[in-house]
C-alpha cells in the first residue's frame, strides 16, 4: 500500500477520535484507576514479607512494570468491532472494490485510533505515575530503540489478532462471544496484570505456545530493563516469526472469507 495513502487514513481515523473529548477524559480516569488498583495490590503483597525481591522483581521493579504494562496496553487501544460492523451493514462490499489492501486499510484505521490514545491517555497517565509512584525506567537510548521495535511488532500482532477475529463475522452472525474469549485469553496470558515470571511452572509451556506474551509482556520488560540488551534481538525475532504465522492465517481467512461472503443488497 502506498505510504501516503496509509497516512491519510491514519489521520482521518485520528481526527474521528478527537471529537469525543469527554470520553477521552473518562478514558484517562479509567486507565489510572487500573494503575492505582494494581500498584496497590503489589504494594500489599510485597509488604507482607521482609525480603524485597520476588521472582526477580523488586518492589520498585514490579510497580514500574504495572505502570508501563498498562501504558502499553492503553496505547494498543483499537476498535475490534470495525470489521464486524462492516460485514453486518454491507459496507464491506466497498472495501472489496477498492484498489487497496483491506488489511492495511484496517491497520491504518487502528493506528490512527491508537495514536490518539497514546497522546491523550498514555502520556498523561505515565507522567502522573512518575510523580505519584516510586518507579524507575533505565535511561538507555539503545534500549528505548529496541523497545520501539518490539512495541511496533507487538502492535502489529494485536492488530492481526483482531483482524482474524473480526473476519469470523464472515461465518458467524454473532461474534461477540469470540471477542470476549479472545479478551479472556489475552488478559490472562499477555502478562497485562501479572507478569509471566510469576506463573507456576506447569503453565509455562502453554504460555510459550501462545502468542500473547509477545504482545504486552516482552515489549514492557524490554523497556523496564528486566531483559539484558544481549537477549533483545532473540525476542524481536520471535515476534517477527509470530507476525509471519499470523499473517499467513489472516491471508487464508481473508481469501476463504471473500468467497463465502454474501452481501444482501444493503
Amino acid at each position: 500500500m502506498n505510504p501516503k495513502l496509509f497516512f491519510k487514513f491514519v489521520s482521518i481515523s485520528f481526527q474521528k477520535q478527537v471529537t469525543y473529548r469527554f470520553d477521552c477524559f473518562i478514558g484517562i480516569v479509567n486507565g489510572f484507576l487500573y494503575v492505582f488498583i494494581f500498584t496497590s495490590l503489589w504494594k500489599a503483597l510485597y509488604s507482607q514479607f521482609g525480603t524485597t525481591m520476588h521472582n526477580g522483581f523488586t518492589l520498585t521493579a514490579i510497580i514500574t512494570y504495572a505502570v508501563l504494562v498498562m501504558a502499553v496496553r492503553i496505547s494498543f487501544t483499537m476498535d475490534d468491532s470495525i470489521i464486524y460492523r462492516k460485514v453486518m451493514d454491507g459496507s464491506i462490499a466497498m472495501e472489496l472494490i477498492r484498489p487497496t489492501s483491506f488489511f492495511f486499510m484496517n491497520l491504518a484505521e487502528n493506528v490512527g485510533h491508537s495514536l490518539f490514545h497514546i497522546m491523550a491517555r498514555t502520556f498523561p497517565i505515565v507522567i502522573m505515575s512518575i510523580f505519584l509512584f516510586d518507579i524507575s525506567i533505565p535511561f538507555e537510548p539503545v534500549r528505548f530503540l529496541a523497545f520501539l521495535f518490539s512495541f511496533l511488532a507487538g502492535y502489529i500482532l494485536i492488530s492481526m489478532l483482531n483482524f482474524a477475529a473480526g473476519l469470523l463475522a464472515f461465518w458467524f452472525v454473532e461474534i461477540f462471544p469470540f471477542m470476549l474469549f479472545k479478551y479472556a485469553l489475552f488478559t490472562f496470558f499477555a502478562g497485562g496484570i501479572v507478569p509471566i515470571d510469576f506463573f507456576p511452572e506447569f503453565l509455562k509451556p502453554l504460555v510459550n505456545f501462545l502468542p500473547f506474551q509477545y504482545m504486552l509482556y516482552f515489549p514492557t520488560v524490554i523497556l523496564t530493563g528486566r531483559v539484558p540488551l544481549a537477549e533483545v534481538h532473540s525476542i524481536i525475532i520471535s515476534q517477527l516469526i509470530w507476525i509471519l504465522i499470523m499473517g499467513v492465517i489472516c491471508n487464508l481467512m481473508w481469501s476463504a472469507g471473500k468467497k463465502k461472503l454474501v452481501i444482501q443488497g444493503g
Partner: protein, 266 residues
C-alpha cells in the same frame, strides 16, 4: 394482576429473543466463564507465590469473589438494558416507552434479560463451594438465611449505581464511556479485599461509592473474621441498609431525569 401479566409477557419474549441462536448463546456463556476463570486463575497465580493478601488466603478470596459474582449476576439479569440506555435516548426509542401506560423504568427493566447470568451463577456457586471448603466456613442456620439477604443488598447497590449513572444520559445524551468505567472497570476494585488500598480510597469505596458492601464487609461475617476494615464490626451487616439507601437515591435521580427529559427528535 394485569400489570404482572404484562411484565411476565415482556420477560418471556426477551428470553425467547436471546435463545434464538442457541449455539451462539452457549458459546457466549462459555466465553464469560473463561474470562472469570482467568481472573480467578490470576488470583491463584499470585497467592501460589505470596500465600495471602493482607491476611486474606485463597479460600477467603474465592469466597469474596463468589459474593461478587452472585451480586453482579443478578444485577446483569435485571438491569442489563440500562447499559444501552443512552442509545435509547439518542435514537428516540425512549419516546415510545413514555407513551405507553406502564412505568418507564419497569418497561426498560423487563424489556431485556441477560440470560448470560447463568455463567455468573455457575461461577458464583463454584466459588462458594471452593471458598467454603478452602476457608473452612461453618454454615450456621443464621448464615444460610443471611446469605441471600446480603446478595440482595449487593444487587440493590450495584443496580442502584447502574441506574444512577444511566440517568446521567437524560442530561448529557451520550455517556457510554462513563457507564463503562462506573459499571465495569470499578468492579476490579472489589476483586481484592479493599484494605489493600490507602485510607482515602477505603473511605471512598465505603461511604461515597459503596461497592465495598457488596463483598468486603459482609465477607467478614461469613468468614468469622475479626478486627480489620473500617469501623469494625459496625459495617459488617450494613449491606441491605446501604442497598436500600443507594437504590432509593438512584430511583429518585431517575425520576428527576425523566421529568427533565426532552426528546432528541430523532
Amino acid at each position: 394482576m394485569e400489570l404482572i401479566k404484562i411484565y411476565l409477557t415482556l420477560f418471556a419474549t426477551s428470553i425467547k429473543e436471546r435463545m434464538e441462536y442457541k449455539a451462539s448463546f452457549l458459546f457466549y456463556v462459555f466465553a464469560i466463564m473463561t474470562f472469570y476463570i482467568g481472573q480467578i486463575g490470576l488470583l491463584f497465580v499470585l497467592l501460589n507465590r505470596f500465600h495471602q493478601i493482607k491476611g486474606w488466603t485463597m479460600g477467603d478470596m474465592v469466597f469474596l469473589y463468589s459474593l461478587h459474582a452472585f451480586a453482579y449476576g443478578f444485577t446483569n439479569l435485571i438491569f442489563s438494558q440500562l447499559i444501552n440506555f443512552d442509545k435509547m435516548v439518542v435514537d428516540g426509542e425512549f419516546d415510545r416507552v413514555l407513551v405507553r401506560p406502564l412505568s418507564p423504568l419497569g418497561q426498560i427493566i423487563f424489556s431485556k434479560f441477560e440470560v448470560s447470568t447463568v455463567a455468573h451463577l455457575v461461577i458464583g456457586f463454584t466459588a462458594l463451594y471452593f471458598g467454603t471448603h478452602l476457608a473452612g466456613i461453618e454454615w450456621t442456620f443464621k448464615k444460610v438465611l443471611l446469605f441471600p439477604v446480603i446478595v440482595g443488598g449487593g444487587v440493590l447497590i450495584a443496580g442502584g449505581i447502574r441506574l444512577m449513572v444511566t440517568a446521567v444520559a437524560f442530561w448529557t445524551l451520550r455517556n457510554r464511556s462513563l457507564v463503562h468505567t462506573v459499571i465495569f472497570s470499578s468492579k476490579e476494585f472489589i476483586n481484592y479485599p479493599i484494605n489493600i488500598y490507602n485510607m482515602g480510597m477505603q473511605y471512598f469505596l465505603t461511604f461515597i461509592f459503596p461497592i465495598a458492601f457488596i463483598n468486603f464487609y459482609p465477607a467478614h461475617y461469613f468468614l468469622d473474621r475479626s478486627g480489620e476494615g473500617l469501623l469494625y464490626p459496625a459495617l459488617e451487616m450494613g449491606t441491605p441498609i446501604v442497598g436500600i439507601i443507594v437504590f432509593t437515591v438512584s430511583a429518585f435521580t431517575w425520576k428527576v431525569g425523566v421529568n427533565h427529559y426532552q426528546s432528541t427528535g430523532s
